[in-house]
Structures are given as C-alpha cells and as structure tokens.
Amino acid sequence: MVIHAGYGEKMATELDLKGEICPYTFVKTKLKLEELESGEELVVTFDHAPAVENVPRSLKNEGHKIMGIEQKADHLWKVRIRKA
C-alpha cells in the first residue's frame, strides 16, 4: 500500500505489523525493505513495545535511516524508515 506524504515528505509504502512480535517485526520489515529501491521510504506500524526500540536500532545497524518514530496511541507506534 502506498500512502500520501505530508508537505515536504516523500511518498511512503506502509506496512502494518500490529499483532506481530519479535523476531517477526524485524524480519517482515527487512523483507518489505528488500522490495523497495534505495531512497524510498517505508512506514511501519507496531503495537509491540520492544519492537519500537529494537527494530529501528537493528535497521540503523543495517545502514538504513530512521526518519522518525511517532506514538499514535497507547501501544501504537509508526516508524518511518528510508532505505539505504
């Protein structure tokens, strides 16, 4: 799914990982990033708190850029990633 970006933001692909826990949160994010071109952005929705800390750290270690982490509700976060 492609979502529209706000002013000054690139279009991003969206991945809903609500209900997923470690390690699937990282694995499914990594697999989705493999479908994108370098520089494209992915917005991932998590409801698993450890993933919000660990997935961005692991992706940074893989060379990707974390553009932002936004808490949308109690136990609901969106992480915006730019593929390396």
Partner: protein, 100 residues
C-alpha cells in the same frame, strides 16, 4: 579470540555458574566475550555476577520480548535487544557455545 555464549536456562541451573566462570576466565585471558540471554535465562540478569561481568567488559544482550513476558526489570549495562542481536553475535564470533 571472540567468544559468543547463549544462555537459556534459569539461575538455579548449573549453566549459570558455568557461563559466569567461562566468561571471567576468557576476559582474564584477553578474549572478547558476548553473551545473549533468552527464555528463562533472562532471570539471570539481576544476579550481581552478571553486573560484574559487564564491569569486566563482557557484552551482554537479552531478549526484550522474553524480559517483558517474564516481567523482569531492566538492568544498566545490559542491552535489552532482540534475535537480531543474537544473530549478530553468532555471525561475529570465532567460537559460539550454547547453554540450554
């Protein structure tokens, strides 16, 4: 040499003391030691011996999911990570020992 250790058993298991003593001995010989702890192994993180290993330069990471499931508190100096960290350790070390 880089030594990796996986610990999955709770503190009453003899594995705990073995991991502590191997890690101390390896560090005393100048080797790099990385430990990943998961399943009931996460109950070990509050033992003072693991804090002492951190002070000796041992890198310790635990599975944050297992920590959350078992309601274990966070400990300074220990990374509350994921299976990604486990994979990085296994990929990086020269020898890997599993205690489960």
């Amino acid at each position: 040499m880089k030594l990796g250790i996986l610990l999955t058993t709770s503190p009453e298991n003899e594995n705990t003391n073995t991991v502590i003593e191997i890690s101390k001995a390896a560090r005393d010989e100048g080797h790099k030691v990385s430990i990943f702890i998961m399943y009931d192994g996460v109950y070990n993180v509050n033992k003072k011996e693991f804090a002492e290993l951190v002070d000796k330069g041992v890198d310790i990471a635990v599975c944050a999911l297992n920590v959350e499931q078992r309601k274990v508190g966070r400990v300074d100096g220990i990374l509350f990570g994921s299976q990604y960290d486990h994979a990085c350790i296994a990929s990086d070390v020269d020898r890997f020992i599993s205690f489960g």
